[in-house]
Symmetry: C5
Subunit: 321 residues, 5 copies
């Protein structure tokens, strides 16, 4: 699907969906925003036909996955950023690519998936047509700002998952928990990598490296940079928490082993000597004077009691039990 | 609450709390300090109305948490630093934001929480009105200096907590200790992160990056930088100590297991052979010549004694016990 | 084997295999590509005789292994890149060297092994002779592009191996798995090292460091750089996954030990007291009143049952079992 | 205590201990060295009164601990280095601060502790008065050189402690060893941190950053830098050795556990079946034909022997024992 | 021992061993190489007397160990590189220092140990006197090239040691292996450190930092740099392999423990219930009807068999065995 916004000062903003209307680049003072969402080859053809974008950049649009980057092609810049998505049903985080071309008077956005950030900016442009009159860099800022702000609720989902894991870790240590911790750690590592790359992109945008980003707009890109700074920090925190949880898991396991073994070592060292004593008086020797004693039996029971007490208190003193 | 200090050379320092008196920027030679503590929207309005600060900077004031940073807006700089607070009741360390605008002749401080550092500087300005005459950069130095010096007592609290943990670790190894170690480590990591960011801010302040910080004042900001250097080093030390404590904890646990097992292995390998011997002479065969021997019983007891001694000394020699 | 392509505008591309035809460097406007595959000394002689390459560079061609690099010799650049190969029979990944000289109007490729990437470019040149007319930097791009694109299927092989390992890890923990994990990790580390070096080379190629790489071609080398970026990231991901698998392996082992021990501690502490009880009534004292009781035997059996139940429920309550 | 050396070419070097004689800065061609050791406030007063040093630098002198640094104040530089001290009685390493001001024609040293390095240089100046005539940078070099050379014997003490620990580790693994390893590691980490900071200071001194350090003297400071390079490397080595020792400790512990358990598993699986066999023939059934056999008893003994041998050899073959 | 080579164009190369012949620096166009091997003080005197080298550089010659470095003294450069030596008898790797002074027309080499690399270059100079005519930088290259190439066979020795260790690790896990792994790792770490420093030196030599290294020679030093690059990579590989071996060792140990324990848990839980059963029928109650049953005994044996089978199959199903 192709969406075309044409802004002419005075006349305002006009929206069409017909690629055939794209026959020439916007004249000075007019602006053009072309959004390509999972475009047909004919629709995507405008990239080469009208804008004459470099074949490599066009190829990058189709070919996922790219890392987030910004390439300067002189007449325009080509930028890749990543949105984040959470599929609650499959409990799966994924990132999807948004390819952007920014020229002096045009903006082209290309994405294979449906993007709610783009939709929101489209609605905004429809409601406030003059927003496009501030320049395409400001429209670009609106898009990227929404894409990046989407990371925060995802970080919160991760945080609540971590909280759940922490609770379960204390209640019941199962190997399955470890797998979940590692899965989450991999997601966090992935988000961190993406956000770090995007931070690099945004610092370039806010530094005045490109002529199509006006000085006034740079401050706004610096603001997105600050958000990404906090996102990277958030992922760092989560990562560390998850690392700690692995260590806790391991120590819980070895603690459990300790407990397990102590049950055995509390019973066995007491019972074994008693078994030997009963064994002795179960022997069938003809001459065992104790067997004929009237109080032999109670005396042996007493002996067994004494042995038990002596051993328990000895172990206690040596802190073995 | 809004507090306004106006300094005019000769007349001295005048204090008001009425935002309505803020109608124009201070003339050359006069100075203005506006402190906004949890301001009402009307009070905060002066940020845009009078000072015409950038909307993004104003938004950053309201929107916590920001990382510590300093942004150059040409006419003024916008700075975020963090104070540290310790809530002894809940045993909780927290950091709170202090937003600062510094212009050629004005200083604006914005904070949602009550800040004792700011109060102290206000008192100082009231007592020594001419302190404001040295320039707003020196007032700023006083504020930041107090905020940063507040970190040292917090580090000492952490140190005493570490000492407590070390003592407990030697006395009694419980899993609950591990959780406390990890909690403390997270606090230390947080403080380190904040202090490292602030060190970056202070190095910019002391390097002459901004025209509103006079050369004379730069030396003083360099001094705060030195304090932050020591704070970061302190957190590094604490972090390492806590890491070591985790290793000690783990080794204590596995040592305990060793002890536990040794009790069992000291008793069982001796008792089991004795039990077999008594079992043999407890069998009911019709023809067991030893049973008729007059000294069969004492001989077997002797045998059991010999077996015990032989095994113990054998284990000893093989270093098994 | 030597393969010589000579391109003259108008006449097109001519292919020979006779080193004797190489008597002078190509004139302006004509291009020369010499490919040496496991050349005989006579064939390799053209490197010094015709091109007068630096002895050290020529020596590097013969002497494997070099790291990936690009050296500027003024008249030409000398470049080393590595292809990757997977031998399915021996399940072995290996890298092989490709040595390249690029001058203003010539390209020399030198490799001891047969290279499918080179062959593909040769075929391409035969089919589209004018491809050589774009300049030798574009021919070089075609070669390096194919060499690098070859990494992706190898990464997928590694990924499928990792998946296999993960499945086996859950089904059956054997020490042999650990060796396989470590072997794979070493392969991944090797690939990462090679790709990182090549990324360095490609960034130099795309930055305009060398006069023989035209500005138009630089964009294409930047594209290969992007591929290498993703390859390095892919190896990083694999590496982390493998590290996690080591941790999972270790925790599976200690979990197994836990299970193993629990079997023992579920049986022994119950059976040992019962054995002592039977031992008591197996003693041969003359005066043991219980032995004469009519219901002595069932009472003892009952006692043993009670003891078992009491102990099991006690252990359960203490969470020992 | 204050010590004042005044050097005038021709007249030589004059020593006094009276701060009152310090009334003006040395004229060109004459040199002044003031050493303040744990000075009284009146003595320390010369810092501000005569030299007019920056209040922050003066405050740094009194306020320990500073990190090693060098600050440029235009008219003079302020430098902090750390000496290292070993208290053999308490087995304690400590570092103490030496504060230095270097101007064009004066040197001021300030230290609260008694410093043998300073004393040695004083003696040297007394014996060779013309040494001061080479310039204050050379006197400074003498001091810092001695302070840094003092690190080497300390590293040797640490090395011998490590050797001791290694011997003990092999002889007897006790948890107390781990604490000593960690203590030593912390000392080494501290020394490394200090030496790394000082290396930074020395590289600035040897690079010609400051006008008071003549080109001739820079070579000498470069020499101290080389020493610090080796000191940092030495601490790195010690650190790594200590890390390895922790790993060895842990593996020794788990090895011990293995040994411990093997004693049990060598005895128990043999003895338990034997106990069952004796138990069988200890049963009191009326009809147990084996009991009446003439050779029942020896046959059972034989059976027990056979069972033992079979199990041992079975275990051996399965490598369980 | 002192060896002096004097090269005059036309006359060729003259060799003497008399320091007294060194009275003046070589005139333009003539070259001088002085090699000092464990020199007597009189021989070493030429360093100061004739060449007037800086006292610190001369001191560095005598004072081992220095790190590899190159210092620019204006008239000459002073360089320290390290050769590596393997003492097969004591199985000990050591590095020894080679100190080098390079001026416009002279080269001075100073080493306390006998160096085979130097000897080889001497022989070469004797056989090809004109080799000295290319300039002292080329002679220096020959020396350093040989010293560095010596690292490769040492790396191979280490590799074969690692192979041995790997074989032993699989056959028999002993604590002594861990010590050998750590020893080797320390050697590898040492070599890496030295090679990394030398790589720094060589990059300076090949970059044209020093006027005495001609542009033609720089390419040759770049070649040595490439060798060092591969040496550092080789040490990195070895280091990683050794780290993996430590992990394998640890996992082998805990695996062994698992095996050890399983023997116990396979036998004990089966034997203990059987022992209780035999204990029951070994009790001496007057009224135990089973004892009078004709088939009591075989029935109990059957019962024991059934109990064993039930337990084994139960354990099997629960995967406990």
């Amino acid at each position: 699907m192709i969406t075309i916004f044409r802004y002419t000062p005075g006349t305002g903003c006009e929206e069409t969906h017909d690629p055939a209307t794209l026959v020439e680049l916007p004249k000075t003072g007019t602006y053009l925003w072309v959004d390509l969402q999972a475009p047909t080859p004919e629709e995507a053809d405008v990239l080469s036909r009208l804008f004459n974008f470099h074949p490599l950049a066009v190829e990058d649009c189709w070919h996922e996955p790219q890392h987030s980057k910004v390439d300067d092609y002189g007449e325009y810049i080509f930028m890749v950023v990543h949105g984040v998505r959470y599929d609650a049903q499959n409990d799966d985080f994924s990132t999807h690519e948004l390819n952007i071309f920014l020229g002096a008077s045009f903006l082209v956005t290309f994405h294979t998936y449906h993007s709610r950030s783009i939709d929101a900016v489209k609605d905004n442009v429809r409601r406030h047509p003059n927003a496009m009159g501030r320049g395409m860099d400001f429209v670009l800022h609106q898009i990227v700002d929404r894409v990046i702000d989407n990371y925060f609720p995802k970080l919160e989902i991760i945080e609540s998952k971590i909280d759940d894991l922490e609770t379960e870790l204390v209640t019941d240590v199962r190997p399955e928990l470890l797998t979940r911790i590692f899965d989450l750690r991999r997601t966090v590592a992935h988000l961190k990598r993406v956000a770090t790359q995007e931070r690099e992109v945004l610092i370039q945008m806010s530094r005045g490296d490109f002529p199509f980003v006006s000085e006034r707009a740079q401050v706004y890109f610096k603001d997105i940079y600050d958000h990404l700074y906090r996102i990277v920090e958030g992922t760092d925190n989560h990562r560390e928490t998850l690392n700690v949880m692995v260590q806790v898991y391991v120590s819980m396991i070895s603690n459990q082993l300790n407990h397990t073994m102590r049950v055995l070592t509390r019973i066995a060292p007491i019972m074994l000597p008693l078994a030997v004593i009963t064994g002795i008086y179960g022997m069938n020797f003809d001459f065992m004077p104790e067997l004929q004693w009237t109080f032999g039996y109670p005396l042996v029971l007493l002996l067994m009691l004494v042995v038990s007490i002596v051993m328990i208190s000895y172990f206690r003193r040596r802190k073995w039990l």
